[in-house]
């Protein structure tokens, strides 16, 4: 009888193909959207967490201008803030004991040309201390020699993306490339870091000695940012205080004047990013919950619209001798089969969409079984609730009542 009931249910599903399809569709939409959004949200969070870990929580960025975030401001502040110089970097290292190391950084963009290939990229002009200050090891070759840095030699270290674009998988160390009019020898390749939390490709970069950049490309002696790596076991807040005192002194800022530079603590940035992604994940989950609800309402509508017809069907079945529990079992099996089908399809679609999204957003794909199970359970509940309970009411009627229902 169980097998017969299952057969009856399957037959009823196919007999009402459109209704079954719409029911399944409602469940698929609900389940898929929840799984996609929550998975993408969790992937982003995981990405940010990883970025934050890589960023290092003991790194400070010292910039001219008062803004803590974004590019050094020269619009809002009115007057151009004074840049740092290479001497400022040396003095910071000498005078602040909390600093493990520091490196000057200036940025620009350029087109790299070699062997018929060209690629537009970012220049990070710095010195030999940068790799340690930013905790970024080399994959190939060597770091800048102090002599090269001081002399402004035409050498460079490539990010993985630039290396791929220009040299493919070949070893570029010892090759030369052109940056506008400057011919430059490749001495090393950085390890790949992937996309940052803001979506930019961190590997699309070219390192060169800052003196080379100053003399041969921009023609000034400015230092855009100072990267500071705080010594182990020292609070970044203490280092920030010391650096601020020293720089105010060096830059002759009066007691009543505000700082014309800012010290950005990566730890703060990290906590801010974590907060933002937390909010975003919450938002996505809320949107997903709404779509689940909409899917549920869709199912409810279909089920309720078909109640009259189904009530008549129940009446007919009762009249020819079905017992109410047989009819109910059939309806339950029907609801469960549709819910399962929708749940499975929805999970597959949701995970596939999340995987595709993760690929294009360059975030890790971290499917969470809890989310899948919860979305599944909710849709099954809705399906069974609205498929089964109206049927239960109908099956308790005298057959003539069920047959008369219009």
């Amino acid at each position: 009888m169980v097998w017969e009931t299952a057969r009856l249910a399957i037959r009823a599903i196919f007999r009402n193909a459109l209704r079954s399809f719409l029911t399944v569709l409602g469940i698929v939409i609900g389940v898929a959207s929840v799984i996609t959004m929550v998975t993408v949200g969790q992937g982003s969070s995981a990405q940010v967490t990883a970025d934050v870990a890589r960023l290092g929580t003991n790194i400070l960025m010292v910039r001219p201008g008062r803004t803590a975030m974004g590019p050094p401001s020269n619009i809002s502040g009115g007057a151009q803030p004074r840049s740092f110089t290479l001497r400022d970097v040396d003095r910071l290292i000498d005078a602040v004991p909390q600093i493990a190391t520091a490196a000057p950084v200036s940025s620009g963009s350029t087109t790299v040309v070699a062997g018929g290939e060209n690629h537009r990229t970012q220049i990070t002009a710095t010195d030999a201390r940068y790799l340690e200050a930013s905790d970024w090891p080399l994959a190939l070759g060597r770091n800048f020699a102090d002599a090269e840095a001081r002399a402004g030699a035409a050498v460079c270290i490539l990010g993985e993306t630039v290396r791929q674009q220009i040299f493919g998988d070949a070893d570029p160390v010892g090759q030369s490339l052109r940056l506008e009019s400057l011919s430059c020898e490749v001495i090393g390749v950085l390890t790949a870091r992937g996309a940052s939390s803001f979506g930019s490709d961190q590997d699309d970069v070219l390192l060169m000695p800052i003196r080379t950049f100053q003399r041969r490309i921009v023609g000034n002696t400015d230092v855009g940012t100072i990267y500071v790596r705080v010594a182990d076991g020292v609070a970044t807040e203490d280092a920030t205080t010391e650096i601020t005192y020293l720089l105010r002194d060096l830059r002759r800022i009066g007691p009543a004047e505000e700082d014309d530079f800012s010290v950005l603590d990566m730890k703060q940035l990290a906590s801010m990013l974590t907060q933002i992604t937390g909010v975003l994940t919450g938002l996505l989950a809320a949107v997903a919950a709404v779509s689940l609800l909409v899917g549920g309402i869709g199912i409810m509508n279909i089920m309720l619209v078909s109640v009259t017809e189904r009530t008549r069907e129940i009446g007919i079945r009762l009249a020819v001798g079905a017992q109410s529990r047989q009819v109910l079992l059939q309806f339950l099996v029907e609801a469960v089969v549709l819910s399962l089908l929708g749940g499975i399809l929805g999970s597959v679609v949701g995970l596939a969409l999340a995987a595709v999204a993760a690929h294009f957003m360059a975030i890790p794909f971290t499917p969470d079984p809890v989310v899948v199970v919860m979305a599944f359970a909710f849709s099954a509940l809705v399906g069974v609730l609205f498929g089964y309970f109206p049927a239960r009411r109908a099956a308790r009627l005298d057959p003539i009542e069920a047959l008369r229902r219009e």
């Binding site: 007999r15 008549r312 020819v320 001798g321 109410s324 005298d398 003539i400």
Partner: protein
């Protein structure tokens, strides 16, 4: 008792809808015996309770009070499931509106009662095909109700009622939606089947022509039996 008890015996059966001032006594004390093999027509004006009487006889509805003995068994005390078993094994229904499952082939509709009888699939299909052939629908087994005419749909319904091999056929205005020619065809079919299967038939109708096929005509007025006559046909 010397005599066999009648197949159906109603004693003081009432069926009351609503309460208090809105109370409607659809059946107001019915006493009725129907013997095996009888063809009884129930007639009467609208609202006389003739359909209610048929529904009570068919266990589709429950009497408010009174006794209903089916083959000597008291029906009033049965549970819903037991009444379902009674319908399954002893009763077949034919409705004015056919009451076929939509989007379901004639064969599957006829098979329905056999599924609940628990017959194996081969036998169900064989018996359904046989029933469809008997009502003259050979070749239409795969048609949906929407692809069949009214007369054909009623034939499917008759086949469904017959497939379960019932003792009693209960027909509620079986020709109510059909023109005269189709009605005559359906009545001839019922009479032929009755002769072959020794069925008892209870039919509600408001057409004298159809009632003339029966061997006993019961008139109802206001929930009571006002006359009970044998037609000339009865032997």
């Amino acid at each position: 008792m010397a005599e066999d008890p009648p197949l159906i015996r109603l004693r003081g059966v009432t069926r009351v809808y609503g309460h208090g001032a809105n109370e409607v006594r659809a059946l107001d004390g019915i006493d009725l015996d129907i013997a095996r093999g009888e063809f009884v027509a129930i007639m009467g004006p609208s609202g006389s309770g003739k359909s209610t009487a048929l529904n009570v006889l068919g266990c589709l509805d429950r009497p408010t009070s009174g006794h209903y003995l089916f083959d000597g068994v008291e029906i009033a005390g049965l549970t819903q499931d037991q009444r379902a078993l009674l319908r399954r094994h002893y009763l077949g229904f034919i409705f004015q509106g056919y009451n076929l499952l939509p989007r379901t082939s004639a064969l599957d509709n006829v098979e329905l009662p056999l599924i609940y009888k628990g017959l194996p699939r081969d036998e169900r299909i064989a018996r359904s095909l046989q029933a469809l052939e008997m009502v003259g629908l050979k070749g239409r087994e795969r048609h949906d109700p929407s692809e069949l005419s009214g007369g054909q749909q009623q034939r499917v319904a008759i086949a469904r009622a017959l497939a379960g091999d019932p003792r009693v056929i209960l027909a509620d205005e079986p020709t109510g939606n059909l023109d005269t020619r189709r009605s005559v065809e359906i009545m001839d079919l019922l009479c032929r089947i009755r002769a072959e299967r020794e069925l008892t038939i209870v039919m509600v109708t408001h057409e004298d022509d159809m009632a003339a096929y029966a061997d006993r005509v019961i008139w109802m007025v206001d929930g009571r039996i006002s006359s009970d006559k044998r037609t000339g046909k009865a032997a």
